[in-house]
């Protein structure tokens, strides 16, 4: 990138490299996926690939399995991460920054390395490749992504809400369910979407730790593109597109819920 005169150079020029990257690596591939998805074996326009996606029993059951395992791991992860986030964000621990860091450090280690390490650990205690092992893998791997947004919301929450609740007669349990939990929903929702969506399309964990029962849609797509046969590109593209739409829908729902839950209080600055 060269500019002739500094005067001509505008700040918006900084956006061009990113724009180029976006076009080459996001928009063009998306168009390619769409083109493949709607192209029949004769090279003409067709809905056949999509018909196949929604009629083939194996694909549908894999889709169901994927949603099932993603939902189960996300739920378990949420149930573990919320209390941890709550404790880390509460008074005595809040000041010890290293504690929350400890939960995040695993994110810095290579993902596959962690999975294989976990796999060896599990087999040491006699847990072999199975549905359960795959779920454990997912929960372990995505834990920080669930923890961080919840922790951030909880630790930034104005403590006067909790005080107001207790002042109005709510004991700690009632305060939690009536005030803290509803106010932390934006964190919960962003944690869920940060976990649910990647699980939806990833297959490395289920591949490494699961069995036949954890065969997910991501693996199916990978095999369609790896073991090319006549028309497999079209079918794989259609499947990818359906997945994309599903993820988009989940994200939209998440956004709507977040907006509803996170009406930030305004006014009353002191």
């Amino acid at each position: 990138m060269t500019e002739k005169k500094a005067k001509v150079f505008r700040p918006t020029a900084f956006a061009f490299p990113y724009l180029a990257v976006t076009v080459i690596f996001v928009i063009v591939p998306l168009i390619l996926v769409l083109v493949y998805a709607f192209r029949g074996s004769d090279g003409g326009f067709t809905f056949d690939n999509f018909r196949k996606v929604f009629t083939e029993k194996e694909t549908l059951s894999q889709l169901g399995q994927t949603i099932g395992i993603a939902a189960l791991s996300t739920l378990i992860c949420l149930l573990i991460a919320y209390p941890v986030a709550y404790i880390l964000a509460s008074e005595p621990f809040k000041k010890i920054a290293i504690l929350s860091l400890l939960f995040i450090i695993p994110m810095w280690i290579n993902f596959m390395l962690r999975i294989f390490a976990l796999k060896s650990l599990l087999s040491m205690i006699g847990v072999e490749k199975s549905y359960g092992a795959a779920v454990i893998g997912m929960v372990y791997d995505f834990f920080p992504y669930m923890l961080l947004p919840i922790y951030t919301v909880l630790s930034n929450m104005d403590k006067s809400y909790v005080e107001a609740s207790r002042d109005l007669g709510a004991n700690p349990v009632a305060t939690f369910f009536k005030v803290t939990l509803p106010l932390s929903l934006p964190g919960v929702i962003s944690g869920i979407s940060m976990m649910f969506m990647p699980i939806f399309s990833s297959y490395a964990i289920t591949e490494a730790m699961g069995d036949m029962g954890t065969s997910v849609i991501g693996a199916k797509i990978a095999s369609l593109f790896e073991n090319q046969y006549y028309g497999s590109y079209g079918y794989g593209s259609a499947l990818s597109f359906v997945l994309l739409v599903l993820v988009l829908v989940v994200m939209l729902i998440g956004n709507v819920l977040t907006n509803r839950a996170s009406r930030a209080p305004k006014g009353g600055k002191a």
Binding site: R166, D167, L168, K269
Partner: protein, 505 residues
């Protein structure tokens, strides 16, 4: 909050039933809150120091003081958000230190309102009512919850009281600051507390709205007939609204009195300076009814001081009679500045080297020669809080004494190294330096009061000690300064533990 309570809460037996479903008419005159010897220390800093206070039923009590004086901490102790380091608070004779906030018969209006953003106005106000249990002999356990209809009635009545009848369905975030304030008040009073705590509730409002709310709050207090404890740093607000004003500074109560008395008869220089405009001078009480300051001897109405005791004198600007021409009053002066304040003129008059602030209906132009007359009735005499700085220290070497986190050069004749000593430092023995590094220890300026011929400056050291200094220079609040001491003026005394206990302040 102990674990057992939490478990109980899970099964719905969370609260003892509210003692009285309809609050018994409260008798004036008896103390509803009794604060006894409360000390609160945060991270080694004493915020409240052995404070005692009784608050009568149905009174409007204001805790007034500069920020950091401990007034909000005191309120939070009553609400139950803090536990005292020492001492006990009684509500209707019952000690409440171990009682969690949700079981106390008090409700709070928070400084930043703390309205629940996920609930609308109606649900915010109904929050406390939905949790409340009321006595009902016909119910199974003798208690029951409010019915939907009862809650709706009470909420609507509370919203009506604060003038927000039709706002129930509104999102709290769509309300203006003043409206949020009203919702916060409605949410607190709907629970029918015995005491309503208000933590600088008007601080975030603009001036006009604040004035309106002051009047409304006062009216609400009369209508509800419950005790209000109101925290503010705004002296005018305190004087207009309260039955009783508690002036606090440095975690200690400076004065408790009716607003008029606080204004007319401030107990010490701090109160006089904090409450309203005032001329603050240093004087000597020659004998009963005779005071001398700025080189003049005047008649006053105070007595009971030691002969020739050094005292603080306060004269309110509106009490000074200003006349044209000289030799017609006690002081001859020249007008320096004149400012019109809407209903009166405020003038600075230089007389006897002191800048008097004078308020008058008639205007005198700058440069005009005037006489100031001060009638005996308007001279308020106050005991000096302290006449000498006093610290505990130890002799660390020949002519070296360590106290307040520093080692000062002080003649130590008659003492040995290692001796514990009481160090008496007169106000004029202390010297402040602009550069913190030039002093023996560092400190922050917390108060600077002009006393007629000199400034009395108070600084706060890093070891939580105060130094009072008489100096010719004015120092800015919160400035970091160095502290030096003229060792020749300092007096040392052997430390006797028992003797010291009785005389802490």
């Amino acid at each position: 909050m102990n674990f057992l309570d939490k478990i109980k809460g899970l099964f719905g037996k969370k609260q003892a039933p509210a003692e009285t479903p309809t609050p018994a008419p409260q008798k004036k005159g008896e103390n509803i809150i009794e604060i006894k010897g409360i000390t609160k220390v945060f991270d080694g800093v004493t915020v409240l120091d052995d404070l005692s206070l009784g608050i009568k039923r149905a009174q409007f009590v204001t805790l007034l003081g500069p920020s950091g004086c401990g007034k909000t901490t005191l309120l939070r102790l009553i609400a139950g958000f803090e536990t005292p380091t020492e001492g006990e608070i009684y509500i209707e004779g019952v000690p409440i230190t171990g009682v969690p906030p949700y079981k106390r018969p008090v409700n709070t209006v928070f400084q930043k309102y703390a309205l629940f953003p996920h609930l609308n106005v109606f649900k915010n106000v109904a929050f406390g009512l939905k949790l409340k249990k009321i006595a009902d002999p016909t119910a199974k356990k003798g208690v029951r919850k409010y019915t939907k209809q009862e809650i709706a009635d009470k909420v609507n009545r509370a919203l009506k009281l604060v003038g927000l009848e039709d706002y129930g369905h509104r999102d709290v975030n769509s309300l203006s600051g003043g409206q949020q304030q009203r919702v916060a008040i409605a949410r607190a009073i709907v629970c029918e507390p015995k005491v309503l705590l208000l933590d600088e509730p008007l601080g975030a409002l603009d001036l006009k709205m604040r004035k309106e709310m002051q009047i409304e709050l006062k009216k609400m207090h009369e209508d509800l007939g419950i005790t209000f404890i109101f925290v503010t740093h705004d002296q005018e607000e305190a004087l207009t609204m309260s039955d009783v004003v508690v002036v606090m500074n440095d975690g200690i109560i400076q004065q408790i009195d009716r607003p008029k008395k606080i204004y007319d008869e401030p107990k010490n220089a701090f109160v006089a300076d904090f409450i309203g405009e005032s001329n603050l001078l240093s004087g000597v009480m020659e004998k009963d009814y005779t005071i001398s300051f700025l080189g003049k001897t005047l008649t006053c109405v105070d007595k009971g001081f030691e002969k020739n005791e050094r005292v603080d004198v306060v004269i309110r600007p509106e009490d000074i009679v200003i006349k044209a021409g000289q030799n017609k009053g006690h002081f001859d002066g020249v007008v320096m500045t004149t400012v019109f304040k809407g209903t009166y003129y405020e003038m600075i008059v230089l007389a006897s080297d002191y800048e008097f602030t004078v308020q008058s209906q008639s205007e005198f132009r700058p440069g005009a020669e005037v006489s100031l007359e001060i009638v005996p009735d308007s001279i308020h005499i106050m005991k000096k809080i302290l006449t000498i700085n006093k610290y505990l220290g130890s002799v660390t070497g020949e002519n070296l004494v360590s106290f307040c986190g520093g080692e000062f050069e002080i003649p130590t004749e008659g003492f040995e190294t290692g001796d514990e000593v009481v160090v008496y430092v007169p106000f004029d023995a202390v010297e402040l330096t602009d550069d913190e590094a030039d002093g023996v220890i560092g400190a922050a300026v917390t108060q600077s009061i002009y006393k007629g011929t000199y400034y009395q400056v108070q600084v706060y050291t890093d070891t939580d000690e105060d130094f009072y200094i008489d100096t010719a220079d004015e120092w800015d609040m919160d400035d970091r300064v160095g502290v030096k001491i003229d060792g020749g003026k300092v007096r040392l005394e052997k430390y006797e533990p028992a003797a010291d206990e009785t005389e802490a302040e």
